[in-house]
């Protein structure tokens, strides 16, 4: 009988130590999972903020615009400021153009008196080297604001732009390098 009672008592469930151990392990696992989830959420939030903040979208637009313009530019002529503050490339308007007849100038505009940061602008227009005033300005477009640093470089057929955008809370460095494909 004594043997039977002992057996029934043991088969009722877990011991207190087993329960404590199980709970402790569960807490550790849950904490691990929780920390991982919170970290990943924070990481995602940070990535989301970086991906969709104004300086990031501005930088993306600047890179795309620079890339699209330079890739179609003529490799024969490309003017670059000695300090790298502006670059001017020349393009064909269409297939019927026998010579380059468009120009595009990317330039850094420093901050004004009451402004914290500068701008990246694009001036574009018609180009006629046989005219006394070869540049016929069609328009000037502000590519992006919050520009704290901008420099252009040239090496062979390749042109690059290094742009730092800073809105006070986010800081993004945009680097774009493109090859001039036309003659």
């Amino acid at each position: 009988m004594q043997h039977i009672a002992k057996k029934n008592y043991r088969s009722k469930g877990f011991t207190l130590i087993e329960l404590i151990m199980a709970i402790a392990m569960s807490v550790i696992v849950m904490l691990g999972v929780g920390i991982a989830l919170v970290d990943s959420h924070r990481g995602w939030q940070r990535t989301y903020d970086r991906s969709y903040c104004d300086v990031m979208t501005d930088g993306y637009v600047a890179r795309r615009m620079f890339d699209a313009t330079v890739r179609e530019a003529s490799s024969e002529v490309c003017l670059l400021d000695v300090a790298g503050r502006w670059i001017e490339v020349y393009l064909y308007a269409n297939d019927s153009s026998t010579e380059v007849d468009r120009y595009a100038r990317f330039y850094y505009q420093p901050a004004g008196e009451n402004e914290a940061k500068g701008y990246l602008n694009l001036q574009y227009g018609n180009w006629n080297p046989d005219s006394p005033y070869p540049r016929d300005v069609v328009g000037t477009q502000r590519v992006c604001s919050n520009v704290s640093f901008c420099v252009f470089r040239k090496a062979g057929y390749s042109v690059s732009m290094i742009l730092t955008l800073d809105n006070g809370s986010q800081n993004v460095v945009v680097t774009s390098s493109s090859v001039m494909h036309s003659q």
Partner: protein
């Protein structure tokens, strides 16, 4: 003893449950982390595929231009069987490219090239142009000197346009490689060697109307391809000698002492393996309706009033090629014209001097050029208009654009 063993066996079930629980939790965590990275990996793969597809499209375009240039070797040019390719593999990656060249010699040629990598596809279109040796008005491998009161401008003998902007330049990046003296005017752009600083390479005391800039790449002087011609021995011109197209050939030397060498009846091509010596008022006359092309392996000397008289007044009708390449022993060209001269000179290994009050119409590609005082140099833009049947031409990409 048997009962005690049974009880112990039942206790070990808790550990299995806990282990299973831990495995399930770890599995869920792993799945979560994997799914977090999945979108990023897909995005990165798409991006890299697009880059590879773009490279493949450009590779197709490059191959199309290469095949067009190889096709140029076989004369006469034919617009049939223009290069094309379908799904050619790009070595070293999983990309393929296809291209097709369309067009003809009258409307020009267009290349459509498409690159594929995985599911990404990129397509580019380029128009081609033929480039000859005379795209520049004046181009010197080393030094270019325009002394006082010289004028350099452009015109087009075929369209009648005048006052066109020209391009002169040097391949050098050394200081003062281009000297423009007081009163001299360059009506166009001045180009210096790749990597050079125009402010130091150009010593300007005159006027440059256009831009000054450094070339994007080092200038290449193509090696001249001399056509195969029959051997004719030496040519001596004692009195008046007339050469017709049937007299085209390879001559050992050309010498004259007061004689007249007339070029008549069409296009005459001379390959001179030795020297050309014209002395004492002797003259080469190119009659209207004719043209002369000289390939010179040796030196050329027109002295004591000797000269070339291109009576057609068209620069294309007199072309003078020096066949030595830069780095070879230099050839000497001594040509002194008092009045007007029409022609194009390609001599990248030769030093040329234009004397005072000379008027030269055409183009000069040389090692160095010195234009003395009061000279007028007029570049004929018609020299740029070359055809696929001309020698020493090549296809280049004129306009490139990517299709959306």
């Amino acid at each position: 003893m048997r009962k005690i063993r049974l009880a112990r066996s039942k206790n070990s079930g808790a550990a299995i449950i806990l282990a299973l629980l831990a495995v399930v939790m770890l599995f869920i965590m792993g799945q979560g982390l994997l799914s977090l990275g999945l979108n990023r990996r897909i995005f990165a793969t798409q991006n890299s595929s697009e880059v590879v597809a773009r490279c493949a499209a450009d590779a197709g375009l490059t191959k199309a231009v290469l095949e067009m240039n190889e096709k140029l070797i076989n004369k006469p040019w034919s617009d049939s069987s223009l290069p094309q390719a379908t799904n050619q593999a790009l070595p070293g990656c999983n990309a393929t490219f296809s291209f097709q060249v369309t067009g003809n010699s009258s409307i020009g040629y267009t290349v459509n090239s498409t690159g594929n990598s995985n599911r990404a596809q990129r397509s580019v279109t380029a128009t081609l142009r033929l480039k000859g040796l005379f795209d520049y008005a004046i181009f010197a491998a080393e030094k270019l000197t325009m002394e006082n009161n010289n004028t350099t401008t452009g015109y087009n003998s075929e369209t009648g346009e005048t006052d066109l902007k020209i391009q002169i330049g040097t391949a050098s990046t050394e200081p003062d490689s281009i000297i423009i003296g007081p009163g001299s005017t360059i009506d166009g752009n001045v180009v210096v060697g790749a990597g050079g600083d125009p402010a130091t390479v150009i010593y300007n005391e005159g006027t440059i109307v256009g831009l000054t800039y450094a070339a994007t790449e080092e200038h290449e002087f193509p090696t001249i391809t001399v056509p195969t011609l029959p051997g004719m021995g030496p040519l001596d011109v004692p009195g008046t000698t007339v050469l017709y197209p049937t007299d085209s050939g390879t001559y050992d030397t050309i010498t004259s002492n007061g004689g007249i060498l007339e070029i008549d009846g069409g296009d005459v091509v001379l390959h001179v393996t030795g020297d050309i010596n014209m002395d004492s008022g002797s003259e080469i006359q190119i009659k209207p309706g004719s043209s002369l092309t000289i390939y010179a392996d040796g030196d050329i000397a027109f002295v004591n009033g000797a000269g070339i008289n291109n009576q057609t007044g068209i620069c294309k009708n007199l072309k003078l090629y020096a066949t030595s390449a830069p780095g070879d022993e230099k050839q000497s060209f001594e040509i002194k014209n008092n009045s007007e001269a029409f022609g194009a000179v390609y001599a990248p290994n030769t030093d040329i001097i234009l004397k005072n009050n000379a008027s030269l119409y055409g183009s000069v590609i040389c090692n160095s050029l010195s234009v003395k005082n009061n000279g007028i140099f007029s570049y004929d833009m018609a020299l740029r208009d070359v055809t696929a049947n001309d020698d020493n031409v090549q296809f280049l990409i004129k306009r490139w654009h990517e299709n959306e």
